[in-house]
Symmetry: C2
Subunit: 218 residues, 2 copies
DNA sequence: CGTCATTTTGAATCGTATCAACTATCGTGG
DNA sequence: CCACGATAGTTGATACGATTCAAAATGACG
């Protein structure tokens, strides 16, 4: 069945390789976009869907360094890729040949804007990892996914489908899957969120969630 | 006395504001370059010295998000500054008016290269905060400061002067000052480093330090 | 409807934080 | 130049949040 999805995707896969080194691809969930250590030849922008950037330690520890949603730059580093990029949902990803980027000031300006946003996003994640509690981390992530993904569900509520497992959430937030699970349940116990299936979360109280995510005045 | 240094610096302070919105300033240690929430008007590159970027939580928690050494981009974010920048040593900092950056492709290319390095640096810090132990964090920081700052001291040894207090090191590494201090002493106990004054560290065994900093195959 | 992966829960343990001295260092003024 | 107070660093005892290990419960999917 995994194979089926892959084949289906390959069919859609080839985008129009039209002008100046731009390429758009559609990928199924759990597909590798590029691998750690690969040379960086293109800049990737997520048009639609959610992609994770992760780094694996030699001893098995894993850090999901960044999540990139629609409009966000996935990677445009110096030297080889420092992380592996993998889709979490069906994705449309546009990439630009780096040699061509230099030639087009307009394109460069656009990518720089996205790159600057990526810096800010990553810096914010640094403050999350450096100084937030487990509960604050989970609340922060839910807030971010809500902004990217969430559909309004009336009365200051919203619903989101989590495309990450508890394990992946943990590896993004610098905690363990058990702690992630306990934090979700704690948020539920407090009435901030609700869910029957672990991946279909309803934010019952958006304001409370924002408060719990730290970095907001109490 | 603090006043004296400031005055001295002000004297050196004004750089040649020559071509196209570039400005170079020399600042004494512990001087604010720009403040959180200030609008971003310039891109800053550290020519010489060490600068920290830090973010303050409303409840007093602090995260030192980044350290920028010679040749490294300090800030060029979207929107207002997310962090305050403060010198740790005497610094020479060049900044470029953003409106002029757009106009000069050469300058833009140069800054983009530095910006891409900043992303990688910050991503590496994410993995440090997400998945490393206190000892690994301190070892990693010493390794980085050695690369920036360190002077060879024979037989695979090096000496560095730490321009950060234990408290600042802790706020950079997502630990407490006590844990930072204990980690330093643990490294000393193991013979990896040595010091009499807390800020004048000698790396006795560079290879062992690299090994302890994690992310290296054992 | 059975199998496998994911999630949850519980209990014990561990690493780091916290709180509280104590010591060392440094800049300052007597 | 030395004594002083202030700041920074170290150390110890205890507490707590998160991890670890184990097992049960739930959910996804053929």
């Amino acid at each position: 069945m995994r194979i089926d999805v892959l084949d289906k995707a390959s069919a859609i896969g080839t985008g129009l390789a039209g002008e100046c080194g731009r390429r758009t691809r559609t990928l199924p969930p759990r597909e590798v976009v590029f691998m750690e250590h690969d040379p960086v030849r293109r800049a990737y922008v997520v048009e639609d869907g959610l992609v994770m950037l992760h780094h694996l330690f030699p001893d098995g520890r894993r850090q999901i360094v960044d999540l990139a949603g629609p409009g966000e730059l996935l990677s445009w580093e110096e030297g080889g890729h420092a992380c592996t990029a993998e889709t979490l949902t069906f994705c449309r990803i546009t990439s630009y040949e780096l040699t061509r980027v230099d030639a087009s000031p307009d394109l460069q300006r656009d990518l720089v804007r996205r790159l600057r946003r990526a810096v800010r996003r990553t810096q914010e994640h640094v403050t999350l990892l450096g100084r937030k509690t487990a509960l604050e981390r989970v609340a922060s992530l839910l807030g971010r996914l809500m902004d990217i993904h969430g559909k309004p569900a009336g009365q200051g509520a919203a619903s989101i489908v989590l495309p990450l497992t508890r394990r992946e959430i943990a590896d993004h937030l610098g905690i363990t899957q058990e702690t992630a699970s306990r934090s979700f349940n704690e948020l539920r116990r407090r009435g901030v969120i609700g869910y029957k299936a672990p991946s279909r979360v309803r934010i019952e109280n958006v304001a409370a969630l924002a408060l719990l995510s730290g970095s907001l005045r109490p």
